[in-house]
């Protein structure tokens, strides 16, 4: 874990526009941000662009970071997520939302997911339509509430729930296909 005192020194330096501190911040958090951006942006180069853009915003607004309100990781992840969401907005195609009657977490065989590499995990997420992928990432991994997602994406809370349900359903279907392929390979 990164030493918090060290981080505070880096942030203080960044507030003073110290290039060394800015470089240190980039070294510390580029990988963290890249992991976030890769979940939202399928293309790795585009994801790096998002990291770059996020870092520009982070460095530009670093004086606004208040350590009393939370860890710096939370703050910069919020900026990265918003950066990615804005990028995805440009690609989004207007569609009619489908409201599912179903809701709630369905028990799921997690074994297959544990066996997947991180790249395969990314690939799974990116097989989702953008609007589902956004909500899935935001709610499931980044911990946003449906209300927060609604505010961020400009959609109704109900739409966020619907999209999450659809995302999960589609992922289950994808995982089932993977499972079948795995069993076929083992049988063969």
């Amino acid at each position: 874990m990164i030493n918090q005192k060290h981080i505070q020194e880096i942030i203080s330096g960044c507030v003073k526009n110290n290039p060394a501190s800015q470089r240190a911040l980039v070294r510390e958090y580029s990988g963290f941000l890249y992991a976030i951006c890769r979940r939202y942006i399928k293309d790795t180069e585009s994801a790096k662009d998002m990291v770059q853009e996020s870092l520009i915003r982070i460095l530009a607004k670093i004086q606004m970071y208040d350590a009393r309100k939370g860890k710096v990781e939370s703050w910069i992840s919020t900026i990265a997520i918003r950066t990615c969401i804005n990028a995805l907005k440009k690609k989004r195609i207007t569609t009619v939302d489908v409201d599912e009657v179903h809701s709630g977490e369905v028990q799921f065989d997690a074994g297959i997911l544990q066996q997947l590499t991180m790249q395969e995990m990314y690939d799974l997420i990116h097989q989702l339509p953008i609007k589902y992928k956004e909500v899935f990432n935001l709610h499931v991994i980044d911990g946003y509430s449906h209300q927060e997602i609604g505010d961020l994406l400009g959609v109704e809370t109900a739409s966020s729930r619907t999209r999450l349900f659809r995302a999960k359903a589609m992922l289950r279907e994808k995982i089932e296909i993977i499972k079948k392929q795995e069993s076929c390979v083992k049988t063969a």
Binding site: R23, Y34, D109
Partner: protein, 487 residues
């Protein structure tokens, strides 16, 4: 087989996950080592230092020149005391009233032999309140004689000119004045009569003449007559008229006056919002499309100091209020059909098109519009240099300079870099800037010490924001009114 929630499994896998990325490449992308970024603060620092030095130098110059002004009076007195070829005694005019004319005849004026002499009329008003006037030290520097050309009154200037032409030709007649009218100047020949209202520091254009009359009706009157019947082709040195101890007329004597100006201007304003990084082009484009500049108001105080008779420099403090309106459109999802209505569902999954009936919310994006009146407020220090010339009762002036915006703030709502609507974001508030400006116009004297100015103004403000990827510049075109008071 381990059973778990899909979501929690994904979260477990991704939580705290860090991807490998070339940080050096990212640093290079961000240009953190870019030389320009290092230079920029130095440029700003250098600009700040130079601006302060200029401002201090101007202030020191103004203060020191006030002392120099008083020394000039002494010098004039010394000059006057030295010139005494033709002396007009004070008592000759003691009881004369306005418009009375006293002739001083050189005697030699009728011949060409008058050479290398200087006319000096020393007009001393000891105590105007007691109606005591004194004239002394009147001398004439006459080269050969009069000739067409401009002749300067060191203490005079030009105001109005009227002439009556007769048989003689007057090819040119330009009398350029600067400040205050003191008396009438009558310039006549046998067939030419020019009656001119003369100001201090004037020049007169003599055409043809055989007689020059100097008339000062308001101060017991004096007339100087030169007889040059046959010397139209001859040279004539400048007439020099000097006055001293004019306590009540100190304004006239001050060759380099200091003026305090209060002014107000109204502008039509346009803005140039520029993104220095491509990734903020969307933000800039949205702000440009959503924000419109309205009229701007500017008020200020300035002190100006003349350098010589026509050039001046000025510095002051100025407040500018730029009004803007932001019309921001944003989309919100609105449910058009709720799930009580059955609808045909059709979606694609794994390449297959699945069709079924069900209930659904049908959403539509609805456009909302936010209208917000914003304002940019600037405090700045303008520093100008200008030139002023008199034309009749008016003066024309033109000036140009820079202004240092010492504080700038934004009030209202705008679109953030995230394209979200934010209120008065401090990080979008430019803190420092430089502007370029020019204006030209007319000055009309309401009294000897109070002048009214009307001007056409053009300003360009370069703002430097504390975020380094957006700069905003304002181009302001407007008209201004000002009152200049002679200190």
């Amino acid at each position: 087989m381990r059973k778990n929630g899909l979501g929690s499994t994904f979260k477990d896998r991704f939580d705290g996950h860090v991807e490998s990325i070339d940080a050096d490449d990212m640093i290079a992308r961000l240009n953190l080592d870019k030389e320009e970024n290092k230079k920029r603060p130095f440029v700003f620092w250098l600009f700040g230092v130079v601006s302060r030095l200029l401002f201090i130098a101007a202030a020191v110059y103004i203060v020191s020149d006030i002392d120099m002004g008083s020394k000039n009076v002494v010098t004039r007195q010394q000059e006057i005391s030295s010139g005494s070829e033709y002396v007009v005694e004070n008592n000759e005019f003691e009881n004369e009233k306005n418009n009375d004319i006293v002739s001083i005849e050189s005697g030699e004026g009728q011949s060409k032999s008058i050479a290398n002499e200087t006319i000096v009329i020393n007009n001393v008003i000891q105590n105007k309140a007691k109606n005591e006037s004194q004239f002394s030290n009147v001398s004439t520097p006459i080269g050969n004689s009069l000739k067409n050309g401009n002749y300067f009154l060191e203490t005079g200037g030009l105001a109005t000119v009227s002439d009556e032409k007769s048989n003689n030709q007057i090819k040119e007649k330009n009398v350029i004045s600067n400040n205050t009218m003191i008396d009438r100047f009558i310039f006549s020949s046998e067939s030419i009569v020019l009656e001119e209202s003369v100001k201090l520091e004037s020049s007169i254009n003599v055409t043809t003449n055989s007689t020059i009359d100097l008339v000062f009706p308001s101060i017991n009157s004096i007339r100087m007559t030169l007889y040059n019947d046959n010397i139209l082709e001859a040279d004539f040195d400048p007439i020099i008229i000097k006055s001293t101890n004019c306590n009540s007329d100190e304004y006239r004597m001050n060759k380099q006056p200091i003026l305090l100006e209060a002014y107000a201007s109204v502008y039509s304003t346009n803005r140039e919002l520029v993104s220095t990084s491509d990734i903020y082009n969307d933000h800039v484009a949205m702000r440009n499309s959503s924000e419109k500049q309205l009229e701007s108001i500017q008020v200020g105080l300035a002190v100006s100091k003349f350098i010589g008779s026509r050039f001046y420099i000025s510095a002051g403090l100025e407040y500018t209020h730029i009004n803007e309106v932001a019309t921001i459109n944003y989309m919100n999802d609105t449910i058009l059909v709720d799930d009580n209505y059955p609808v045909l569902l059709q979606y694609k999954a794994n390449g297959d098109t699945i069709t079924s009936f069900g209930s659904a919310n049908v959403n539509s994006k609805v456009k909302h519009t936010l209208i917000e009146y914003n304002s940019q407020r600037l405090f700045s220090i303008p520093m100008n240099a200008g030139i002023q010339a008199n034309v009749g009762n008016f003066s024309l002036f033109a000036e140009a300079g820079i202004s240092l915006n010492v504080y700038q703030s934004f009030y209202g709502k705008m679109v953030d870099v995230d394209l979200a609507i934010v209120s008065s974001p401090s990080y979008f508030t430019p803190k420092l800037g430089i502007g370029y400006r020019t204006k030209f116009g007319l000055i009309y004297p309401l009294s000897q010490s109070l002048h009214l100015s009307v001007s056409a103004n053009l300003q360009r403000t370069h703002s430097i924001s504390d975020i380094d990827f957006v700069t905003q510049k304002y181009i302001m075109k407007g008209i201004g009114l000002g009152l200049k008071y002679q200190l």
